[in-house]
């Protein structure tokens, strides 16, 4: 088990370490010290550049609705890992693991802004894996 896990780890390091690199600095936009896990239902997938976005509807205990917008990788990087704009369907229940935006401000469309590193469906399937956290290289990784 451990051997196969290590093999998968090594393989996925090559597979995912670099596609995560985005056109912008992760550290300038998101806070890796503020990881979040948000549960909701899929509102829509915006298959757009430079980053795709997953919008989910989240209801609090009082029934108040908040729309969250999670930055994903770019569509070309997601497509090469086998996902497309229909990998999640509107209304589907999901859990998103990611990071809060540094400025705490909503997007222009009013949605709560964050970065996704992975989406998990109710049956445990992982979708849209990867984050621009991969390009957090202000120090130590050469120029």
């Amino acid at each position: 088990m451990f051997r196969s896990f290590a093999g998968i780890a090594l393989f996925s390091m090559f597979l995912f370490a670099v596609p995560a690199v985005a056109h912008h600095s992760f550290a300038a936009e998101y806070d890796q010290n503020k990881p979040i896990t948000v549960k909701g239902t899929v509102n829509r997938v915006a298959w757009v550049n430079p980053h795709a976005y997953l919008y989910i509807d989240v209801k609090d205990d009082a029934g108040k609705l908040t729309v969250w917008a999670f930055e994903l990788l770019s569509p070309n990087a997601l497509a090469r890992q086998g996902w497309d704009s229909k990998s999640l369907k509107p209304g589907q229940a999901v859990t998103v693991d990611g990071y809060m935006a540094k400025d705490g401000k909503p997007l222009a469309d009013g949605s709560q802004h964050a970065n996704s590193r992975m989406v998990t469906t109710e049956d445990g399937k992982k979708v849209y894996i990867g984050s621009s956290l991969g390009d957090t290289t202000p120090v130590g990784r050469g120029q």
């Binding site: 088990m1 196969s4 896990f5 998968i8 780890a9 393989f11 996925s12 390091m13 090559f14 597979l15 995912f16 370490a17 670099v18 596609p19 995560a20 690199v21 056109h23 912008h24 600095s25 550290a27 300038a28 936009e29 890796q32 915006a46 757009v48 550049n49 430079p50 980053h51 976005y53 930055e71 569509p75 070309n76 990087a77 497509a79 090469r80 935006a101 540094k102 400025d103 401000k105 997007l107 222009a108 802004h113 590193r117 992975m118 445990g124 992982k126 894996i129 990867g130 984050s131 956290l133 991969g134 390009d135 957090t136 290289t137 202000p138 120090v139 130590g140 990784r141 050469g142 120029q143």
Partner: protein, 245 residues
């Protein structure tokens, strides 16, 4: 896909990030997009007998590493400021061209004719480069360009590309290594076999560097791939949320 797979990915992302913080170099090999292996075979040639660079090329995971550029004090100070701001003012994040020799992590397509080679970059802003092989020189009285003006010639099986005429707006890396309008880039392209494209890149900038700087970059052929669409300005909401520290 096994259950361990996503866990392994998390471990790797964490390790990659920890590595970045601890100063470890990134893995020198591996490919950025699909864990592809370089196909084998002899160097292909055109009907004229020249090395044929045509194909879709993967810059691999070391695409961002250009080594330590020897900067003059003013440039070193500017670089330090950009790093302190966590790269928030990177022109590439505004969907502006990456310049030369900076490239995106996504593949590049080389299209070759006897007198012109065109490089199409999937990433960034779909920038393109024209490497003129018809013996022309650089234009006189050029105004500064984002991607510079490139002329090329053959040195045996090596394609030598000379590029000048840059503006000083682009960053040489995502962390902000600066240059001036006097940047001069000499690239020596080789295709030693079917699956590899090797480039030796020399940067000269008498206004920003203390001496010329040379580094190497390798690509792997992706024989069954095409470049994808990437329309950077479609929904670049990031630019309004880049706060830096």
């Amino acid at each position: 896909m096994s259950r361990a797979f996503p866990i392994a990915i998390f471990v790797c992302l964490a390790l990659a990030f920890a590595g970045a913080l601890s100063g470890q170099a990134p893995p020198p090999t591996g490919t950025s997009m699909g864990n592809e292996k370089a196909p084998t075979g002899p160097t292909p040639r055109t009907p004229e007998g020249k090395v044929d660079f045509s194909g879709v090329w993967d810059p691999g995971s070391a695409f961002f590493n250009i080594g330590q550029v020897p900067l003059q004090p003013w440039a070193a100070e500017l670089y330090a400021q950009r790093r302190a701001n966590l790269g928030k003012d990177d022109p590439e994040a505004q969907c502006l061209p990456a310049g030369v020799p900076r490239i995106s992590p996504f593949p590049q397509k080389f299209v070759q004719t006897p007198t012109l080679i065109v490089i199409l970059d999937e990433g960034n802003v779909h920038s393109y480069r024209q490497l003129f092989l018809d013996g022309r020189g650089h234009p006189k009285n050029m105004d500064p360009l984002w991607m510079g003006d490139s002329i090329a010639k053959w040195d045996g099986d090596t394609l030598v590309v000379d590029t000048t005429g840059f503006n000083d707006k682009t960053w040489l890396t995502g962390q902000g290594v600066p240059h001036s309008e006097e940047l001069h880039v000499i690239e020596r392209y080789r295709r030693p076999d079917f699956g590899h494209l090797d480039v030796e890149i020399t940067l000269e900038d008498p206004k920003a560097f203390t001496k010329p700087h040379t580094f190497k970059r390798g690509f792997i052929l992706l024989p069954n791939w095409e470049i994808h669409e990437y329309v950077c300005n479609e929904f670049n909401v990031d630019k309004d949320h880049l706060v830096g520290k």
